[in-house]
Structure formats: structure tokens, C-alpha cells
């Protein structure tokens, strides 16, 4: 059942494509074309983002992340977050795992949201393309309005969502397992590891992500 859930979306996609292949072949090929472009981008962007995130997980101590991006990081933390988001390549879905790693290591909710949003919209290369098509004035005004907007989105989200609501809630005391399913503990998922802690008395320090803290 759990396996099935994992494949839910991909199964749905395959079914839809099958239907269109039979009924409307021109739309099918058009869609395959567009999706091919998406997938090409994904294959280029995801691996480096994952490797950078993993390197942060392994090397950067939580205290550093907390100082730079945590609750007390203040104005510099905001600037740093906008910077991290805007220099990274790729669409927003590539930002999710990276932002989650920073969050688990102590970045505040607001800074995490700022990273996510600026990853999506504050892009200098994208601004260049926009200027080419839509003109300097329109693009620049939109760009300059977006930066404070992104910071505001971070602050509002932090007011409305509590830290504990972000990871899936688990058994008492085990809620701070990172849910990255990195496999570093030897189990294939954090859930499996959690079960092992509960049922077999395995030490929680087997979690490589927490240990780095």
C-alpha cells in the first residue's frame, strides 16, 4: 500500500498519456515534447542540488546554520536567504529538499520560506530574459517589488505555522528525526528507523543527520 502511494502520481500520468495516445495522438506528442524539456532540466538540476544539500548535511554543523539563518540571524539572515535562493539554479521543486536540510539544521521558518520563494522568483538570469521581452521598466519594477514581498511572505508564514507542524508528527521524542530518508542509519526510511528505535531499542544516535548537530 505504501509502495502504491509512492507511485500514485506517476501511475496517474502514465494512464492519462495512454488515454491521449489512443484518442488524441497529436496532443500526446505535443505533451511528450513539453515534458521532455522539463525532464531534461530536472536531470541537470536535481543531482547538483542534492549533492550540495548532502554536503551541507554532512559537513556544516547546526550551530553555523543557526547563527547564519536561525531566529536570531536578523537582517543579515534575510539577505543571506535571498542570496542563497537567487544564486541557485532550477525550479522550485529542486529547492524543497535543500531548504528542508537547512531547516532541520536550525534555519528559521521565515528564512526557509525566503529561500524557497527567492529560489523561484528572484533570478538574475531570468531578469535578463524578462528585460529582453518585457522591457527594462516593467521587469525592474517587478524585480524590486518582489524582494520585500518575499521577505514579507516569510514573516507571515512564520507567524501562522509552528515549527512542530512542519515535520510529520511522530512518536514522542522521535519527532526530530529529519524525515530526509537518507538511509545513513542503515534503514531505508526514517519511519523504518523510528520503528527500529521503538521496537528493537536501536540508538537514535544512529541518525547521521541529527548526530552532525
Amino acid at each position: 500500500m505504501k509502495q502504491l502511494k509512492k507511485f500514485k502520481i506517476i501511475i496517474l500520468a502514465v494512464l492519462l498519456y495512454a488515454v491521449f495516445f489512443i484518442l488524441k495522438r497529436d496532443i500526446f506528442f505535443h505533451a511528450v515534447n513539453i515534458t521532455g524539456g522539463f525532464l531534461k532540466e530536472m536531470i541537470q538540476v536535481l543531482p547538483p542540488v542534492m549533492i550540495l544539500s548532502a554536503l551541507i548535511t554532512v559537513w556544516v554543523p547546526s550551530s553555523t546554520i543557526q547563527r547564519g539563518l536561525g531566529k536570531q540571524s536578523g537582517f543579515m539572515g534575510r539577505i543571506l536567504s535571498v542570496f542563497i535562493g537567487s544564486v541557485s539554479a532550477g525550479p522550485i521543486y529542486a529547492a524543497f529538499p535543500a531548504a528542508l536540510v537547512l531547516f532541520k539544521k536550525g534555519a528559521s521558518i521565515s528564512n526557509m520560506v525566503i529561500i524557497l520563494s527567492s529560489w523561484a522568483v528572484i533570478k538574475v538570469p531570468m531578469l535578463m530574459v524578462e528585460i529582453k521581452f518585457l522591457g527594462l521598466q516593467f521587469s525592474l519594477v517587478r524585480f524590486l517589488l518582489t524582494i520585500p514581498a518575499v521577505i514579507l511572505i516569510g514573516l507571515i508564514t512564520e507567524k501562522l505555522v509552528h515549527r512542530s507542524e512542519i515535520h510529520e508528527s511522530g512518536e514522542e521524542g522521535l519527532t526530530n528525526l529529519p524525515n530526509l530518508n537518507c538511509g545513513g542509519c542503515g534503514y531505508s526510511s526514517c519511519d523504518d528507523f523510528k520503528q527500529a528505535i521503538l521496537n528493537e531499542g536501536v540508538d537514535i544516535n544512529g541518525c547521521v543527520v541529527l548526530k552532525k548537530g
Binding site: 515534447n33 505555522v161 512542519i166
Partner: protein, 158 residues
């Protein structure tokens, strides 16, 4: 371009990591692999569905919706269309330009462009898998409203 820089940086840092500690690097690669395998299926599925929607939703239709004479309504529509679609920039900007040329209002185009990248209906399942339902709802909701605010200010300034 940024993608290439990022690939180069990640390889360089990985090499540095290997030079410093093989053990830790092995851990990192393992984590990266697991993260990659954990998201790739879902992301690929979502991309496939978005591709299908874009194939079904021709630019002419978007043009008709955004080009409406009622600025406020077409702004809300613009924000909504931007929310449910994902488009690479090289498609989005030329499309926006052609919309502008054919008479769509700047404000609705600004709303469209901003929600296009910042608010994700299609990526909702991926986001909520990482951060949980509530966070995803709040972040996307607030971003949607802020996109309208940005559009409003652009209308005032331009």
C-alpha cells in the same frame, strides 16, 4: 548557465570533501542518492501531467482569458492561471509579450508571471511531502496574495 556553474561547484566541493574525508563523503553521496530517488518519481510524474495540461491549454486560450477588458477580474484570472501552470521562462516571457501586444493589461500579466513561479498547485504534492500540509497551504496562500499585491503596486507605479 547557472545550472552549469552549480554542477561545477557541486563537483568541486564533492572533490574537496573526498580529499578531506572519504567516510563523510560516502555518507554525503548516500544521502544525495536517497534524496534523489525519493523525489525523482514524483517530480517526473508531476512534470508529465503539467506537460499534458500545457499541451491541452493553448496559448490562444490563455490570451483570451487574460486579455479581458475588466482589469481586476483578468488580474485574478492571471494569478490563477499562473498558479495552476508551470512554465519554463523561455516559454513564459515570449507568451507574456504576445499577451501584452494583443492588449492584455500589465497588472494581470505581472500577477500571472509572479504566481507562475512562486505559487505551485502542480508541485503541491511534492511540497507537502517535504514540509507537511499546513505549511504548504499557508506558504502558497500567502504567496498568492502577495503576487496580487505586487501586481497592484505595479499598476500604481507604471
Amino acid at each position: 548557465m547557472t545550472t552549469i556553474i552549480m554542477i561545477v561547484i557541486s563537483i568541486a566541493l564533492l572533490a574537496l570533501s573526498i580529499a578531506k574525508s572519504r567516510q563523510k563523503s560516502k555518507e554525503a553521496v548516500l544521502i544525495a542518492k536517497k534524496m534523489f530517488l525519493g523525489t525523482i518519481l514524483e517530480v517526473a510524474g508531476v512534470m508529465a501531467i503539467v506537460g499534458l495540461v500545457l499541451a491541452l491549454l493553448p496559448p490562444e486560450l490563455i490570451q483570451k482569458i487574460l486579455g479581458g477588458s475588466h482589469v481586476m477580474m483578468s488580474t485574478v484570472y492571471g494569478a490563477l492561471i499562473g498558479t495552476v501552470t508551470i512554465m519554463p521562462a523561455f516559454i513564459a516571457f515570449p507568451l507574456t509579450k504576445s499577451l501584452f501586444v494583443s492588449g492584455a493589461h500589465l497588472v494581470s500579466l505581472a500577477a500571472f508571471l509572479t504566481t507562475l513561479t512562486m505559487v505551485g498547485f502542480a508541485t503541491f504534492p511534492i511540497e507537502s511531502k517535504h514540509f507537511g500540509m499546513k505549511f504548504t497551504l499557508v506558504r502558497n496562500g500567502v504567496s498568492f496574495i502577495m503576487a496580487l499585491v505586487i501586481a497592484f503596486f505595479m499598476g500604481v507605479i507604471l
